[in-house]
C-alpha cells in the first residue's frame, strides 16, 4: 500500500478512536436531544390543565358581566372580596381578582392567589385581558373593530431583491438559527481538528518518533497523510453533526413548534459550509504543522497555536454587534481575514447575506494563505523537526527561514 495511504489510515483510525473525538462527535447531538427532552418534560409539567379552571372576580365598576368563558378558564363573579376570599380558601376557585372602582382611570386590577409564584401565568393574564377589553368594547364598536383593537397588527415583511423580485432568503431569526448552529459546529471542528494535527505532530516530536518515521517516509508523505487523515476524521465528525441536524430540527419542531418549525437548511449554506470547512481546516492544519515543528512540547505548541485558533471563535464574541449593525464594513474585513473568515461568512449568510465578490475574495485569500502556509510549514518542518530542547526565538526562525 502507498505510504501516504498508510499514514492516512493510521491517523484516521488513531483520531476516531480518541476518547476526546468520540465525546466531541456525540455530545452536540446528545445535548440537543437532551434540551428537546427537557423542554418536552417542562412544558408537559407547566402546560395548563385540560379541565376548566374557575377564577373568581369582584366587579366594583359594574358592567363586566359578559365573556366569562375564556378558553378553559371560567370567570365566576362575587359580590364582595370577603365572599371571594372565602371561596378561595375553600378551594372552590383557584384565584380571584378585583376590578376596583377607579380601574378606568388607573388600569389597576388586583389579583389574589394562594400559590407562590414568580408572576401571573400567561394563560391567566391573557384570559383576564381579553375579558376586560371585550367587556369594555362590547356594544361600543363593531366586533371586527374590537378584534383589531385587541390584536392591532400582524406584521408580515417581504424582502425584495435589487431588481424588485421576492428574494429567496427572507431573513428573520429562524434563518439565523441554522447558520448559528453551522458556525458553532464549524468553529468547534476547525479548532479541534487543528488541535489533533498539533497534538499528533507535537507528540511525534516530543516522543522522538519523527526520525524513525522519516527513515521510512518522506516529509511530504508524512504531512499529506497526516493532514488528510485527521481532516477526514474531522469531516466525518461534521457529517455526523450535519446528518443529525435535520432529525433534531424535526424533533424540535414537533416538540417545541413555533418558529422552530419554520427553520430549514438552505442547500447553498451547506455547500458554503463544506467549502469553508475544507479550506479552513487546510489552513489551520498547515499552520499547526509549522507551530508543532518549532515547539518543544505539545503544551507549548497549543499555547502558540491559540494565536490563530482564537480568531475562529471571535465572530461569536461579536455576534450581538453583528446583529445590531449587520452592514458594518468591519464584518467585511473579518469575512476576508483568513482566520476568522470561515465562521464569519457562515454567520453573515444567515443575517444579511454575503455579496458574491466578498465570497470570492474570501475564498481566494484563504487559498493563497494555505499555499503560503504550506511552504512556510514545510520549511519549518525541515529546519526544526529534529531540533529538540529550547524553542527558537522569533528572530532565529526568521533567519533560518531566509536561509532555508
Amino acid at each position: 500500500m502507498n505510504k501516504t495511504l498508510l499514514v492516512f489510515r493510521h491517523e484516521f483510525r488513531h483520531t476516531i478512536r480518541r476518547t476526546g473525538f468520540i465525546v466531541l462527535t456525540l455530545v452536540p447531538p446528545l445535548l440537543a436531544l437532551l434540551g428537546i427532552g427537557i423542554f418536552h418534560i417542562v412544558s408537559g409539567i407547566t402546560r395548563p390543565p385540560a379541565e376548566v379552571t374557575e377564577i373568581g372576580y369582584v366587579d366594583e365598576v359594574g358592567g363586566f358581566d359578559q365573556f366569562v368563558t375564556q378558553g378553559n378558564i371560567t370567570l365566576v363573579p362575587f359580590d364582595t372580596t370577603e365572599a371571594a376570599t372565602e371561596a378561595l380558601v375553600a378551594e372552590d376557585i383557584k384565584e380571584y381578582f378585583v376590578i376596583p372602582s377607579d380601574f378606568i382611570s388607573t388600569g389597576i386590577i388586583r389579583r389574589y392567589t394562594t400559590q407562590r409564584e414568580l408572576g401571573p401565568p400567561p394563560a391567566t393574564t391573557v384570559a383576564i385581558e381579553d375579558f376586560i377589553s371585550s367587556n369594555l368594547l362590547a356594544g361600543r364598536v363593531p366586533e371586527a373593530t374590537a378584534a383589531r383593537i385587541k390584536a392591532p397588527l400582524n406584521l408580515v415583511t417581504t424582502t425584495l431583491t435589487a431588481t424588485g423580485t421576492v428574494a429567496p432568503e427572507q431573513g428573520g431569526y429562524a434563518n439565523l438559527v441554522i447558520p448559528g448552529i453551522f458556525g458553532a459546529l464549524l468553529a468547534a471542528s476547525l479548532m479541534f481538528s487543528s488541535i489533533y494535527v498539533l497534538q499528533g505532530l507535537g507528540a511525534e516530536k516530543e516522543n522522538r518518533l519523527m526520525e524513525i518515521l522519516l527513515s521510512s517516509v518522506s516529509p511530504r508523505q508524512l504531512i499529506t497523510g497526516k493532514v488528510l487523515g485527521i481532516g477526514a476524521a474531522g469531516l466525518m465528525q461534521v457529517a455526523v453533526w450535519v446528518a443529525a441536524t435535520p432529525l433534531l430540527l424535526n424533533l424540535a419542531s414537533s416538540s417545541i413548534g413555533g418558529f422552530m418549525s419554520t427553520i430549514q437548511i438552505p442547500p447553498n449554506l451547506l455547500a458554503v459550509a463544506v467549502v469553508y470547512f475544507v479550506l479552513g481546516y487546510l489552513l489551520f492544519a498547515v499552520l499547526s504543522i509549522g507551530v508543532a515543528a518549532v515547539s518543544s512540547s505539545v503544551r507549548e505548541a497549543q499555547t502558540l497555536a491559540s494565536i490563530f485558533t482564537t480568531w475562529v471563535i471571535a465572530p461569536f464574541w461579536l455576534l450581538s454587534a453583528i446583529m445590531t449593525f449587520p452592514n458594518s464594513p468591519a464584518w467585511v474585513v473579518l469575512s476576508i481575514f483568513p482566520f476568522s473568515a470561515p465562521v464569519m461568512v457562515i454567520l453573515r449568510l444567515g443575517m444579511t447575506g454575503v455579496p458574491p465578490w466578498q465570497l470570492a475574495t474570501s475564498i481566494a485569500v484563504l487559498a493563497l494563505c494555505i499555499f503560503g502556509g504550506l511552504v512556510l510549514a514545510s520549511k519549518l518542518l525541515r529546519t526544526y523537526m529534529l531540533m529538540y530542547g529550547k524553542r527558537p526565538s522569533f528572530g532565529e526562525i526568521i533567519r533560518n527561514l531566509r536561509r532555508a
Partner: protein, 298 residues
C-alpha cells in the same frame, strides 16, 4: 558492491561545519563503527545517509543507488533520539512502523512473535508503550528496526540506557545479523563496545575523519613498543628495556627501538623467573583517539 558509499559529504549549520569532506564505505557482512566524541558529526552523517537531511555537497549511495522511497525499505534505522507512540500497544506500534517498511500485517505479526519471544518481550505484546520501562521500550524499538530484515542496519547509540543483560542480548543479535551477511553501522562514543563488536571503524572529530580502516590494523599501527608482564619474583635489569611502569596487577616494560617483544621474553625466561602473563601492549581505542585528536572526551 559496498552497501554504503559516502563521498566527500559536507554539511554546515549556521556558522558551524558539522561534517567536513567525509568519505567512507561499508561492506556487507561487517559491523562498522562510526565513532567520535559527542558533537563530532556522527548523527549528522547518519541523517545524511538516511536522506533525512541533505548534504551541502558530496553524495551518498546506498546499495549502489541514491536513496529512494523503495530502497528505504531495505534500511533499518535506530536513531539516537528515539521513541514510540505512547498510547499504542506494542504490537500495534510494530505493525504500523513495519508497514511503513513495506511489510503486510500477517508477516509482521509472525515475525514480531518470533522477535518478541527471542527478547523475552512476548508477555508485553498487548501492553501500551507507556506501560513499559525505558529499557523495554528500547528493545521494542530495536525489534522495529530489524523486523523487516533490512540489508543495512544503522544504530545510533543503541546501548544507551540498557541494562547489562539487554546490552548482551543486543550484541548477540548484532553479531547474528553480521553473520547473516547484513551490514551494520554502529555509532557510539563508547569505545569499549566498538572494540568488542566492530570489524572496521571510522573515527571522526569536528566533522573530519581522523581514523579509518580495519580495527586490528589501526590498533597495530598505534601499538607502542612495550610489553605487559605479570610475574613472581624480582624483575631486575633487563637489556633493551628503557622504562618500567608499574600498574595495579602488572608491569609495562617500554622497549628501546632495537629490541623486540620476543627478545624480551627470551631474556625474562632465561632469568628463571615465574611469568604468569606476557603480552604485547596494544593501546585502547580511547587511547588512540586521545593520541590522534589530542583531547579527552570521556
Amino acid at each position: 558492491m559496498p552497501v554504503v558509499e559516502v563521498n566527500h559529504i559536507v554539511k554546515s549549520f549556521a556558522d558551524k561545519v558539522a561534517v567536513d569532506d567525509l568519505s567512507f564505505s561499508v561492506a556487507q557482512n561487517e559491523i562498522f563503527g562510526l565513532i567520535g566524541p559527542n558533537g563530532a558529526g556522527k548523527t549528522t552523517t547518519i541523517r545524511m545517509m538516511m536522506d533525512i537531511i541533505k548534504p551541502d555537497s558530496g553524495g551518498v549511495m546506498i546499495l549502489g543507488e541514491k536513496l529512494t522511497e523503495a530502497s528505504k525499505n531495505k534500511l533499518g534505522y535506530l536513531p539516537e533520539e528515539r521513541g514510540l507512540y505512547r498510547k499504542l500497544t506494542v504490537i500495534d506500534s510494530i505493525v504500523y512502523l513495519a508497514s511503513l517498511k513495506g511489510m503486510d500485517r500477517h508477516s509482521v505479526e509472525e515475525k514480531a512473535d518470533e522477535l518478541l519471544k527471542q527478547t523475552g518481550m512476548l508477555p508485553h505484546k498487548g501492553k501500551k508503550i507507556e506501560e513499559l520501562s525505558r529499557g523495554m521500550g528500547q528493545i521494542i524499538q530495536f525489534i522495529i528496526t530489524i523486523i523487516h530484515d533490512p540489508e543495512l542496519v544503522v544504530l545510533d547509540e543503541p546501548f544507551a540506557g540498557l541494562d547489562p543483560v539487554n546490552t548482551e542480548l543486543l550484541k548477540r543479535i548484532l553479531v547474528d545479523l553480521r553473520n547473516q551477511g547484513k551490514a551494520v553501522i554502529l555509532s557510539t562514543h563508547q569505545m569499549n563496545e566498538v572494540e568488542e563488536l566492530c570489524d572496521r571503524i571510522l573515527m571522526i572529530d569536528n566533522g573530519r575523519a581522523v581514523l579509518y580502516g580495519n580495527l586490528t590494523e589501526i590498533k597495530s599501527k598505534y601499538r607502542s613498543n612495550s610489553v605487559i608482564i605479570d610475574f613472581e619474583g624480582e624483575l631486575g635489569q633487563i637489556p633493551g628495556v628503557t622504562e618500567k611502569r608499574t600498574h595495579k596487577g602488572y608491569v609495562e616494560l617500554i622497549l628501546d627501538g632495537n629490541t623486540t617483544p620476543k627478545q624480551v621474553l627470551e631474556r625474562l625466561v632465561s632469568t628463571g623467573m615465574v611469568i604468569n602473563r606476557f603480552e604485547v601492549a596494544t593501546p585502547s581505542l580511547n587511547e588512540i583517539f586521545l593520541k590522534v585528536a589530542g583531547k579527552n572526551y570521556e
